[in-house]
Structures are given as structure tokens and as C-alpha cells.
Amino acid sequence: MSEPKALLKIRDINAWFGDKHVLKGPSLDAFENEVLALIGPSGCGKSTFIRTINRLHEEVPGARVSGTIEFDGENIYDPGVDVVNVRKKIGMVFQKPNPFPGMSIFDNVSAGLRLQGIRRRSKLAEIVESSLKKAALWDEVKDQLNKPGVGLSGGQQQRLCLARTLAVDPPVILMDEPTSALDPISTAKIEELIMELKADYTVVIVTHNMQQAARISNKTAFFLLGEVIEHDKTSRLFTNPSDKRTEEYITGRFG
């Protein structure tokens, strides 16, 4: 078996909101076909960290980033790198489902493709169908593709957002607490999808739900005060962590 390849090499990331130094140099690798979970107490920097991976952090007024993120051999922070291109390859699903309002289910999924210049209806239809199938939503919406995306239930909307992300086929999918607004059944569906997605993608997920991290991820990184305290195989981190602070956090002694 060949060695797994580090698709993302994240080094010495520092991030600020104005004067507030929120990330203090964490470094991590994310490998192909891996689900990497980021855990830690509120305000530890894990959401900021994930937003540096597709250059979303810098969109906040007054926000700054330093450090390097090598994706497939290229530093996405190099001058001249096309940010749109970065986000095409590193997709993101957010905490709250956010289908484009006023757009049909079909248009929601195909929006990114149309931005890429794909216009042929048959091609779009083919990708919309395969993306909805990958997001386990096809059977539920195949007869109502022209209805508004916002008319779906919360769980369906989140799978629609996942289908929208999958449509442009990014090798990396970032997820920022994707199930925190969902009921347990919708959560279970998203978790099953994440487990299936790792056959083709690298998934980096922020979650407050430690059981979720334990269920779905291969590796887990524990963040505290803007630093990575421990990054290890999930099975090890949740049974026998090396750092006392990780132990205290996951056993509920603080945080």
C-alpha cells in the first residue's frame, strides 16, 4: 500500500482580528482520504483556522493571516494565487444551511458550475444529479428540482449545500459545525455522508460534538487558545491522550 499523501501542509498560521491574535502558529497536515476533526472550547481558534484554509478569514474587515498553506505543492497564500481558484478546490459547508435564496434546487447545485462557464444543460443536469446522489438527496428531490432550495427541511438544505460544494468537485471539503443546527436523524445522515466522502475527498471538520469527532474522523486536533495542543489518531486521542489539557477538555474538566 502506498503512503498516504499530505494534501494540505499547514504551517505556522497566525491570524488576527484587528489587534486580537487568535491563531498562534498552529501547524497541521491533512492527508488524502482522511477526515480530520478540529475540536476545542469556544474561542480557541478552530473556526478561524478552518477559514484560513480556503482564504475566507481575510474577507473579514481588519483580519490578517500569516504562515503557509501548501495545497498540492502550492502555497495558497503566495502572491498572485487566484482566491476563487483556491475556493474551487477547497470547498466549504457552513454551520447553518445557506442555500441561495430565490434559486431552485437545480440552480443551487449548478451555481458553481455556471460560474466556471459550464452552460450546456445536459452537462449541468448530469453533474447536478451525481452531486445530489453523492449528498444522498437525489431520491428526495428528483421530482422537484425546480422548486426553491429554501423550501427544503433543515437537514435537506444542509445536504443541498453539500451537493453544491461537491458539484465543483473540490479535493478538500471544509465543514464548520455542519450538523449543529440539525436534528439527530439529519445529523446521522450527514455523518454517514462524511464517512462515504472520505473515499474521494479530504474532509476537515470543526465540531463541538466530541462523539461526532470520535465517530467519523481518522485524526483529531485539539485546539486551545489559538494553538494545536495535540494532533493524533482519533482512536488514541479519545482513549489515551498524551497531553493533560486534552484529557481535561475531553473529560469535561474544563471548557
Binding site: 466530541m210 462523539q211 470520535a214 479519545f238 482513549t239 489515551n240 491522550p241 486534552t246 484529557e247 475531553i250 473529560t251 469535561g252 474538566r253 474544563f254
Partner: protein, 222 residues
């Protein structure tokens, strides 16, 4: 800071320690009967078994609920898993203590037919292992737990010696076949009690350190 989960675990551990105390009492009384068999003592041992079984069921049920409701992690998870296993070990020890008591009673019913095997050193080692495995659990002390594990070889040797001596005497005098078999069964069951004490010690080490040292893999840990 103690979490809600740790509060629940402390409560269950207290019940488990109560159960451990009953098992230790049962074994102590059983070994007393080896020297001085008394009907009322046998009855006390059999009564203790009922109490141990009640606590076994209670601890199992409570630990199951705790796992479902609290989803423990890391050292909490290791402790809960270990307590669940220790609960089973203690129940088996209580059961074996009863079996030994029953066999001792049978042995002494066989009038003057006796076997010249001294079970004193074996009994002493087994009782020491049981008491100290319980102490290692009470204080979650891996060093004491390791001492318990290392004592197991002495028990095995004493049991083998008792077996060989019994067989030799039975060969010389077939009339003592039945009491000879009693002694073999008693020593065998004592050795099994020690095995359960070893298991408890291994569980304590796992809960405390995360190291799995079962099946003779403790050399590195020492």
C-alpha cells in the same frame, strides 16, 4: 473540578468497593473453614454470595446507563470500562469462594480420610493477592497492582505442588481418591481466584495508564 460523570463514577466505584469487601470477607471465611470448618460460617459464606450477586447486577446496570447517558471519554472511558470488567471479576471470585467452601465442607464430611497437603502457603498468597488487588483498585495504584500481578507465579507454583502431592498420595492410597480430588479442586479454584485478582490489577493499570499488559506482556511495563 469533578464533572457530573465523575460524580456518578465515584458512586458506582463506592458500590464496587462494597462488593469487593464482601468478596474479601467471603474468601477470608472460606479459608478459615480450611482450618476450622463451622456450619454457621459456611452459611454466612453462602449468604454473602446473594449480596454479591445483587451488587453485580446493580453495578452492571448502573454502568450501562452511565455509558449510554454520559458517553465517557479518555481516562473516564478507561475507568468505566475497567469497572465494568472488575465487576465481573469480583462476581466470579465470590462464586469461586462459595465453590471452595462447598468443597471444604464435603472434604470434612469424609470422616477421617485426609490428604497430607498443606494449602496454607497457597491460601496465604491468594488472600494477599485478593486484598491487594482491591487496595490497588481503591487507590487506583498501578505500582501495587503490578506487585499483585508478580505474585501470581507463586500461586501457580503452590497449586502445581498441591496437585502433584495429592496425585502421589492418591496413587499410594486409592481410598483417599475423593478427598484427594477435593484438595485438587480447592487448590485449582484458589488459583482461579488469584487469576481474577490478577485481572483486576491489570484493569487498574489500564484505567490509570492506558497500557494493556495482559497475557504476559507486563515485562516492559515493569
Amino acid at each position: 473540578m469533578e464533572s457530573m460523570l465523575q460524580g456518578f463514577v465515584s458512586d458506582i466505584k463506592a458500590e464496587l468497593m462494597r462488593m469487593a469487601g464482601l468478596v474479601e470477607t467471603s474468601l477470608t471465611k472460606t479459608l478459615e473453614c480450611l482450618k476450622s470448618p463451622q456450619d454457621e460460617t459456611f452459611q454466612e459464606i453462602f449468604d454473602l454470595e446473594d449480596q454479591v450477586n445483587d451488587l453485580h447486577r446493580y453495578c452492571d446496570k448502573t454502568l450501562l446507563r452511565l455509558m449510554a447517558r454520559q458517553a465517557p471519554m479518555a481516562s473516564d472511558l478507561r475507568l468505566v470500562i475497567s469497572l465494568l470488567k472488575i465487576n465481573g471479576e469480583l462476581e466470579r471470585m465470590g462464586d469461586l469462594s462459595c465453590n471452595i467452601a462447598y468443597r471444604i465442607r464435603e472434604y470434612f464430611k469424609r470422616d477421617s480420610l485426609r490428604v497430607g497437603v498443606d494449602l496454607g502457603p497457597l491460601s496465604e498468597s491468594v488472600l494477599w493477592m485478593v486484598q491487594n488487588s482491591i487496595e490497588s483498585l481503591r487507590h487506583m495504584n498501578p505500582t501495587l497492582a503490578m506487585d499483585v500481578i508478580l505474585r501470581d507465579d507463586q500461586v501457580d507454583e503452590a497449586k502445581d505442588k498441591a496437585y502433584l502431592l495429592s496425585v502421589e498420595q492418591i496413587k499410594q492410597n486409592p481410598n483417599i481418591l475423593e478427598p484427594g480430588l477435593d484438595i485438587i479442586l480447592i487448590s485449582r479454584n484458589l488459583e482461579r481466584v488469584a487469576d481474577h485478582a490478577t485481572n483486576i490489577a491489570e484493569d487498574v493499570i489500564f484505567a490509570k495508564t492506558g497500557r494493556d499488559i495482559r497475557h504476559g506482556t507486563h515485562d516492559e511495563f515493569k
